[in-house]
Amino acid sequence: MTLLSIRQLGLSIGQKSILRDVSFDIGPGQIVAITGESGSGKSMTAFSIMGLLPKTAAAAGQILLNGIDVLSLPEAEMCNLRGDEIGMVFQEPMTALNPVHTIGRQVAETIRLHRSVTRAEANQIAAKTLERVGLPPDQFPPGRYPHELSGGQRQRVVIAMAIACQPRLLIADEPTTALDVTTQAKIIDLLRQLVREDGMGLLMITHDLALVAGLADRVVVMRTGEVIEQNSTTELLSNMRHPYTRMLFEASTHTVNLPAANTTRPLLEVQNVKRTYALPRTHLFAAARTFEAVRGVSFAIREGERLGLVGESGCGKSTLTRAILGLDAVKGGSILLNGEPVFSDGKPNLDVRRKMQVVFQDPYGSFNPRHTVSRLVTEPFHLLEDPPKGTDRKVIVAEILTAVGLSPGDANKYPHQFSGGQRQRIAIARALIIRPKLVIFDEAVSALDVSVRAQILDLIADLCRQYGLTYLFISHDLHVVRTVTDRVLVMQAGQIVEQGDTEKVLSDPQHSYTRALIDAAPRMPDLDAYRKDAAQ
């Protein structure tokens, strides 16, 4: 008996075809994962099931929930279905909750919408549901507001809202993408437990293949609106039929060959750096409170070294980066590049700055949308006393664009004409154009699809061979850090808790926090082992 059965689902918005011939089933108690890269139609499939499509969308085919075609249901009946028969968990717990209502009220509201119960009864059910998702009333009273909870706790509230009416189908759209790995592990455990206890069907949408491999019973791989391959997880892992599936799995465990590091004298020296932020006073005459984002961090990068910095959100990584780049003054300690301070007399030092560049995380936000590529990549020329002009400038731009795998003709285009991966190449070109001594990659590959990420990592390795880069690679992704760095720093709550050779730290962690990080990260199964098992 299947719970949800999607038959030849097609979807188009205007002339644009979004989904074509999508078919799969979910049984009660089964976990099905839809995976694929951005633009594959994963989320649109989920929205079709929920009936939350934009007005201009035209759907074809059938979505049978317990034998009823939800596509043919009028909006009023869909409203009854949503939240009652189908629950949904969204990616961003910060925006999925109403900030002006208490968490108890938000959960109770879903119940009162679908069940004829009194307010008191609804509140009671809500409190019980919150307890089930790990928010017991003695520690987290239902009278709390969303802003009083952490990201993981908020996601628990969102899950409580989704399961409050004991739906038969739960749809989770990238439920852990916005969360830290240690939190992610807990949320995944919770979802797994809820599915087991309630016999719900779970449709999990995620781009994280390691997560898929560890959680799902069945995997549906999508690309550009079509189902490329689907099978039970063990079958799929041991025998991938479609080359795209193989490519996806290979890209997500992609490793690069860095040339041997040729380290010499120290380039960047960070000594006992402290940075605090002022917090609002609790009342008018209270003492000003401060938050120490970075608490006495010291490390050095030698010339030619590739250093990694890992840690979860809020650990002070970004604050440290801004201090190193000379964007903010530090409270204490010193940052020296080549023996010269980055910040002197309260002003950033331009001589030092021209030896450093940065690549940011968001390939969409890091360019002025109104400038051409050639103007964007030459922005750091502003740091030079005698920037190249005319033909020289064009030659340098063409050279650097070629070096990052774009064509010289791209110089006159605008950033919106490029894909996310190409934009990240432009960002790297901008960072390298003045040949800085140190490049900082601030989560530079975190926003990219796995196949694009693999290409950018290859590019970084290539550039290491060509230019002998020295860089600080900041990331929360241990797998990526492992392959592109020689040495790694682990940061927690504003302090560096462990440092050493990357391979050694990640395979034999000494600090409990490092161990927790490594244990929580979903691990890609050994595909060779699966293949051997299947062969036997």
């Binding site: 700055r353 940065v358 940011f360 968001d362 360019f367 922005e379 750091p380 502003h382 919106h416």
Partner: protein
């Protein structure tokens, strides 16, 4: 999207053309009286009729457009010229004392009811177009300063501004090169709204007799003149009223259309 642009541009240029044409040609002299032909409804000689002392209404509306546009244009110019730099400066110094002084100064101006102060200014310094411009212009400054600061603040958090800072550019340089072009569409929309509000404010001031002085015609005073005669000669109120509506509507549509046009993302989608 482009329909707004075309309709807005047509209506606005119609008004501007009428104003420009009035410099070289009007059907009659707007100030010449023809008492025997007073209160004539629209006819073959006087296309839009005549007023209570026999002046040609079409001629007056054309010359009045000149006054309205000039007053609103200069008033918006004052608002942009002073408000935008102040807003950019405040955003660049966010949280500092410069920001506080600029924004609290703006609050101070905002705290006064604008039209009452405009009446006060013209009452003290004398009624006339120049004083009306200054009075309306002053109240445009905080509007543009706030819009600019709000737009600029969100841009200062963006990574491309960080990249520019890493490239060693100063705050003034970044404000002009990166921030200003990216809030231009906000400013254009605000400018058209303020422009139409300026036209309405000028009409209101001349309605109470504090705008351009006779014999210079203005739409506001034409409405005031028509007030007592509206049942006898409704066209006297309808013509300047419609002129105001067409101008304000045209400017708003134009602003909307221009905003879409300036956005490079939409430009490519059109190609």
């Amino acid at each position: 999207m482009t329909r707004n642009l075309i309709l807005g541009a047509t209506l606005s240029s119609l008004v501007v053309l009428a104003a420009l044409l009035s410099f070289v040609w009007t059907p009659f002299d707007h100030a010449s009286l023809n008492i025997p032909a007073k209160l004539m409804p629209p006819n073959a000689t006087n296309w839009l009729g005549t007023d209570q002392i026999g002046r040609d209404i079409l001629s007056m509306v054309m010359v009045g457009a000149r006054t309205s546009i000039a007053v609103a244009f200069v008033a918006v110019g004052i608002g942009i010229g002073l408000g935008v730099p102040l807003g950019l400066w405040a955003a660049a110094k966010k949280g500092g004392w410069t920001d506080e002084i600029i924004m609290r100064g703006n609050d101070l101006i905002f705290a006064f009811p604008s039209l009452v102060i405009a009446i006060l200014i013209t009452a003290i310094f004398g009624a006339g177009a120049i004083n009306a411009i200054i009075a309306i212009g002053i109240f445009n400054i905080p509007v543009f300063a706030r819009v600019t600061r709000g737009g600029a603040l969100s841009l200062w958090e963006r990574e491309f501004i960080l990249a520019a800072r890493v490239a060693g550019k100063g705050k003034a340089h970044i404000s002009i090169e990166h921030v200003l072009p990216n809030i231009a569409n906000l400013l254009i929309v605000q400018a058209t709204i303020q422009f139409s509000l300026g036209i309405l404010a000028e009409a209101a001031l001349s309605y109470v007799g504090l705008g351009a002085q006779p014999p210079t015609p203005s739409w506001g005073r034409m409405l005031a003149d028509a007030q007592t005669l509206v049942s006898l000669a409704p066209h006297m109120a309808l013509v300047p009223g419609c002129a105001i509506i067409i101008t304000v509507l045209g400017l708003n549509l134009l602003g909307d259309g221009l905003r879409d046009w300036f956005d490079p993302k939409l430009r490519v989608a059109r190609v």
